[in-house]
Amino acid sequence: MPIIEVTHLTKEYQLGHITSLKENITNSYRRLLGRPIHKRENFKALDDVSFSIEQGEVVGIIGHNGAGKSTLLKHLANISKPTKGSVKVLGSVAPLIEVGAGVNPELTGRENIYLNGAILGIPKKIIHKKMDEIIEFSELEQFIDTPVKRYSSGMSVKLGFSIATSLDADILIVDEVLAVGDLAFQRKCFDRMEDMIKRQGKTVLLVSHNIRQVERMCGRVILLDHGKVIMDGSSSLACNRFYEHSDEKIKLQTIHQQQESISKSSIPNVGTLKLLAISIIDEKGQKIDRVNYLSRVTIKVRFETYIELKDPTFGIGAHTPDMIFVANDDSILSVSNIGIVFPGEFEIEYQISKMALLPGVYALRIGAALKDNDLPLFYGENLCHFQVYSDTLSRSRTVSQGFVSFGGKWVIDKFQNSLLSTQILQ
């Protein structure tokens, strides 16, 4: 017997402003006369969604912004009603939807604990017993008698989470709220949730953009896109699909920015060196933006200089879209003297024999300086986005493994006494 059953759930919202009373009256008048009425455009937030969840399952719901994740949770929590289809939920739900869910800003922290307990139908005596535990977990001993409206967003999340996880609801819904808490509290929350899942057998629905956490915690993931269930299955498969999706999206978005940012140096008032173009070239000499993992690529950068440059040095690096610098190389390390570059256009080339970056989306950063005085001439980040792909490596596996491969060689020696030992050479 599934604890949550969703069948053909469709939710439509009307777009645009609320109609005025006059419009409503003229519309009903037109309807009476059988004339066409002014209809507002409909927006399908959820489109024929069906799934069922068994007791004790931990399900992650992922998808881009606007995919319908929160709408779906609102239906499970019985806050919104479906346009079509049905939602059946057996058991009580502790919804943690948005920041400070179910927390009344006018009441104090302590009163909110009672209020939420009352809403979940828990007797005052039991809440009273749990009070200390809740307050302790929320780390809000000092502020518990202060109205919640004076709390910071982190504080209200802490309170909301502590209440929702302490009050013994059958189903816990967590929607993106943990992002607000600090790392230490997030850690605590995940431990708490793991405890609820493993020891108490609670059903948990988790919505997050932190795919790594979702993948780690959930046995099953539902991937939503534009209101439709694209995938419902094992977490690694669904997360993998999601990564591919978002890699594509990030790349598309950044291609527009590229043209603008290419000539922009982050060093102001240095009009000596101008970046003209960056291109990534594959083995066949073709310009590409998708790089095969472990393939040979060349990065070509065109500059224009207005002055004579004596012994310039160049640096090239890669970083992820969230600005984690993962790779770097400097021309000074291998080429000691470039010599004099005369005013005009010139091109530098950087050859990578094996693309060691693991599948994902990266961007280039490029810098130039004079060797003598270390004077920066040019520096830019987010310059050229490219995607590394692999036909053999799964994307979600690489995410949990980091960004770069050692590129080493495995040697496994089988000894005669059948003892296995491994060592990495090279």
Binding site: N78, I97, P105
Partner: protein
Amino acid sequence: MGIDTGNIPYPILTFAALLPWVFFQESASEGVSSVTSNAALIKKIYFPREVFPITAMVTKIVELVISFGILAAMMLYYKMMPTVYSLWVPVVILYTMIVALGISFFGAAINVYYRDMSQALPVVLSLLMYGSPVMYPLSLVHKKLIEEQAAGHWSNDLYTLYTLNPLAGIIDSFQRVMLKGLPPDFEALYPGLVLTLVILPLSYLYFKRAENWFADVI
């Protein structure tokens, strides 16, 4: 004053009229805005939404109790003793609450969609106040219409129309049982009661239907 109030002093008669009236007015307007003012809760957690108008009304009972204290002091000053008919008071108050709920359910649901509702309601209510025996006693209306037939052959219908306002019966009954030591005038209560019993279920059904889109629209 020029208003015939019988043997009851005008100030206490008016105050006894204002007491149920203010309770009704406050409950209704608080009830109408109760759903929208709890938007934060409605968007995030589910429980039966009729809790909002009902609690809005229950909290008004506190104010009612204070008013009763003042009324008691006035009765003491005018040396009036409550009679056994005062036992009708809880019934009258309960009836007032039901009338206010009828307005609250409907108004609260409308107010989610058209916020102007909570703005318009005070105007409508203050107009209704002139149509209720607050500043003049019901007996005056009765005398003009029924005894003197002031409006010709329309008089009886006009009186029924007047008493269709549940507050007419409520205020009059309250004055009778508290001050005059008389049982309620059922003839004046009856048309309003019928109207209320028709409106309340409709209003409640509308509220329950509208409840489905509260969280989407609010």
